[in-house]
């Protein structure tokens, strides 16, 4: 007897729903072992990781707050991933977007114009696109791998941020902390849910999700990107331009990340500081794949990952979990889910050998 994976005729809808559920159960089982080995209270830890984010209005609003940038960036990245263009450096595009958006309030700290905020978002988006465009140019002109270029550009973006915060953009009245001046009210996003930090960037993320769904599902341009990702030779045969796919993917990814960066400085931070770069750009990669690169799936997965982040923060406090254990928990979930996705296209078959003997 042996096991074999057999390709299915069509993707199994059931597996699409079962995969996340099975992944969650397996993650919990493994974590129980992990917590036991660490000598941490497993019940408290799981309670903090999985339930606490939903048990208080404040925790839940923080989930929604973190969900917005994750969802927005992941929607942008997913379009590229489906076209086989792997923008790994959304974090850098987010940082450059945040810097570009911050230029206005830093230069006009007393500004009151109603145009300030839209202009900041525009600059943020353009900044992110410009950072993505560098990688697109290197890929199309010199065939330089976009995975490496975007990743290295993210490191450069981090240094640009450092330079600005330690030098020209440092708040003169800020006790030498590496941060900019506090932004004026005209540079801050309106709060969406009173009494919380949730701002309208959540709506922006949901609108981007709807747009991504329309483009990838119903637009011919989205179809061309899909073909390029699934079967590059078929795209070449049909005459769909690969260069165009690369440019669109990196520009859209950069735009989304840049907007998310602008929304961070104009939202919960209220100034440009180092903590604008907390890894949303990297986590969004996980969010995009966890959501099956599907616009609707990404809305759900961004919510789930955001809740896990909040839960992880809680668990570090209430169960005394080390941060590494939180990361292991989050990574287990992703590994089990992606493993489960294999059953979407393949089914496990037990092969029996005929009962005969070799003489």
């Amino acid at each position: 007897m042996r096991l074999a994976l057999i390709r299915r005729d069509t993707a199994a809808r059931g597996a699409m729903i079962a995969a996340p559920a099975v992944a969650l159960v397996l993650t919990i089982l493994c974590s129980l072992v992990l917590f036991a080995v660490l000598g941490k209270p497993a019940g408290t830890a799981l309670y903090a990781l999985l339930l606490e984010p939903f048990l208080s209005w404040y925790s839940f609003s923080e989930v929604l707050l973190k969900m917005a940038p994750l969802c927005l960036i992941a929607q942008g990245l997913a379009i590229g991933f489906r076209a086989n263009v792997f923008n790994i450096g959304a974090e850098g595009q987010l940082v450059i977007g945040a810097i570009a958006a911050s230029a206005l309030p830093v230069w006009y700290p007393d500004g009151t114009s109603a145009l300030m905020l839209p202009a900041m978002l525009l600059l943020g988006g353009l900044g992110g696109m410009a950072w993505g465009a560098i990688a697109a140019g290197f890929r199309t002109r010199f065939n330089a791998n976009e995975i490496l270029v975007t990743l290295m550009l993210a490191l450069i973006a981090a240094q640009v941020l450092n330079y600005l915060l330690l030098g020209p953009w440092k708040d003169p009245a800020g006790f030498n902390f590496p941060q900019s001046v506090l932004f004026p009210d005209a540079a801050l996003l309106p709060i969406l849910l009173p009494g919380t930090r949730v701002n309208v960037s959540l709506l922006l993320a949901l609108a981007a999700s709807g747009l991504a769904w329309v483009v990838m599902r119903h637009r011919f341009s989205g179809y061309q990107l899909l073909v390029g990702g699934m079967a590059p030779r078929a795209a070449a045969y049909a005459g769909f331009s690969e260069r165009r796919a690369i440019w669109i993917s990196l520009l859209v990814g950069g735009l989304a990340a840049g907007l998310a960066g602008a929304a961070e400085v104009a939202g919960p931070l209220g100034q440009l500081q180092r903590s604008v770069s907390t890894g949303y750009g990297y986590s969004a990669i996980i969010v995009a794949y966890l959501g099956g690169l599907n616009p609707l799936g990404i809305v759900l997965s961004s919510f789930l990952v955001s809740a896990l982040f909040i839960g992880g923060d809680n668990a570090m406090v209430s169960a005394g979990l080390p941060v590494a254990a939180v990361w292991v928990f989050q990574s287990l979930l992703l590994v089990f889910y992606l493993g489960g996705l294999a059953f979407l296209r393949y089914r496990l078959v037990v092969m029996h050998r005929p009962a005969q003997s070799v003489p």
Partner: protein, 502 residues
């Protein structure tokens, strides 16, 4: 009691999902016998050979080797018993020499092996230089290497899967001489083919398969080719509608001194290709695969675009298009059926409807940038109905179709684009005989409607049947134009191996 047969199969069945590839097959092979397995593509020949060679295991039935039941779990078991197989697609490393390739599988020092290779070569007409690099060898020579590799293990049974499909006519004669010499030594040979004349010339016995079942056992010499064809297909096929000469239109596709340097070391460079295809004629490109067919197709389709300086070397509808991409050439009225279906002519994970969109997006399937789903379904339904594509309908994934059905879908899609110029590579590869004859009739009908058609094919019979003129492609060079009415198979065969017709 008489000696048991070398190999016998009793009631062998094998299913893949709902497809019953082999049903209750009985087969007996004796030593010193050349046994043909005759059947259309999809009749179950390959499955049966995989069962005998241990690549697959049967669901039901017994395999007896020299009278004793055996289980063949993998090819190693089969080789240990004394079964050798030469596949249609060779498994040789091009960067290694002949003896290095053989030493990977057959034990022994290189010097000993080289000696044995020379001995076998002399004895069976399989001369080959053991130190030659495989990438320098012709397809026929590579086949000899594969056969020698099997013979070095002194098998009792040799299986050959469509061995003549890669050979020019002269090469076929030489292979048959080798096989006859092996037969006199007492070796049994299973010879898989759908070429009736070859089977009549070579084989002692034939077993005919149709839809997975044995439908006949006979001595092929005692039957006419037409009789064998009817038994193989199960009905009479209409005689080909021979194209009648008629007035030709303007030159629609023209190559003028087209050169192409291969990018990878084992690609084929093309030099000085010139040809012209007028509206209302079918021009064929004959030749053995690997002589530049892939490169030629890509240069005509636009998948390989040339520098602007050489834009005049390819002209489409009178316009220079050498530096134009695929989309631009398609807009001028070019349609193209590539030789690879999955991953090039179609996206396996997408539905047939979405695969229609791949090249038919200009047929009202996209409105203001949005995919018109109803039009997309209707177009693919027309292809499915018009070309007898066996599938679950427009929603079926392309990857779930058999090769022949997907070929019919791609062919139908490109024909429904109503092209001015149609480029077809291997129009009937893997398509059953009936459907292949339909496809050829469609091509001839398009020609009669004034379409310019360029067909690249390995099947000489097919080219002679539908083409007005032929060129032979050999090592990246084209022969002069050969009108099919005044050219013989032997002439073409001579060009195919690089000679000049007398």
């Amino acid at each position: 009691m008489a000696a048991p047969p070398l190999l016998s199969l009793e009631g062998i069945s094998k299913s893949y999902g709902a497809v019953r590839a082999n049903r209750g097959i009985d087969l007996t092979v004796d030593p010193g016998q050349v046994h043909a397995i005759l059947g259309e593509n999809g009749a179950g020949k390959s499955t049966l050979m995989k069962l005998i060679y241990g690549v697959e295991t049967p669901d039901e039935g017994r395999i007896l080797w020299k009278g004793r039941p055996v289980t063949l779990a993998n090819p190693a078991d089969a080789r240990a018993l004394g079964i050798g197989m030469v596949f249609q697609h060779f498994s040789l490393f091009e960067t290694l020499s002949v003896v290095q390739n053989i030493a990977l599988i057959v034990p022994g020092s290189r010097a000993t092996l080289a000696g044995r290779i020379r001995d076998l070569g002399r004895e069976f007409g399989l001369e080959i230089d053991p130190d030659a690099m495989v990438h320098d060898l012709s397809v026929g020579e590579r086949q000899r290497v594969e056969i020698i590799r099997c013979l070095l293990r002194a098998p009792d049974l040799l299986i050959l899967d469509e061995p003549t499909s890669v050979l020019p006519p002269q090469g076929v004669e030489r292979l048959f001489a080798t096989l006859r010499a092996l037969r006199t030594k007492g070796m049994a040979i299973l010879f898989i083919s759908h070429k009736l004349e070859e089977i009549r010339a070579l084989c002692d016995v034939a077993t005919i398969l149709r839809a997975g079942e044995v439908t006949g056992r006979l001595v092929p010499r005692d039957h006419s080719a037409a009789d064998l064809a009817t038994r193989m297909i199960g009905r009479n096929i209409p005689p080909p509608a021979h194209p009648v000469a008629h007035d030709l239109g303007e030159v629609r596709l023209e190559l003028a001194g087209l050169d192409h340097a291969a990018e990878d070391p084992f690609g084929v460079s093309l030099s000085g290709l010139s040809l012209a295809v007028r509206g209302g004629e079918i021009v064929g490109i004959a030749g053995i695969s690997g002589n530049g067919q892939k490169e030629l197709a890509a240069l005509v389709s636009g998948e390989i675009a040339q520098p602007a300086l050489r834009r005049d070397t390819v002209r489409l509808m009178g316009q220079p298009v050498g530096d134009t991409g695929v989309a631009g050439r398609r807009r001028l009225g070019l349609a193209f059926v590539p030789e690879d279906r999955l991953g090039r002519g179609a996206v396996p994970e997408m539905s047939l409807a979405d695969n229609a969109l791949l090249t038919a997006h200009g047929q009202g399937l996209v409105r203001r940038g949005f995919i018109a789903r109803a039009a997309e379904r209707a177009f693919s339904a027309r292809v499915i109905a018009g070309f007898d594509v066996r599938s679950r309908g427009p929603e079926a994934e392309a990857g779930s179709l058999s090769g022949g059905n997907l070929q019919k879908f791609i062919m139908g899609r490109e024909i429904l684009l109503s092209p001015k110029v149609l480029l077809v590579a291997q129009p009937t590869w893997g398509v059953d005989v009936g459907a292949a004859s339909d496809i050829r009739q469609r091509l001839v009908a398009m020609r009669n409607d004034g379409v310019a058609i360029l067909v690249i094919s390995e099947e000489l019979e097919e080219l002679f049947e539908i083409c007005d003129r032929l060129h032979v492609l050999h090592k990246g060079r084209l022969s002069p134009s050969l009108p099919t009415r005044t050219t013989t198979t032997e002439d073409v065969g001579t060009w195919m191996i690089g000679g000049r017709a007398a």
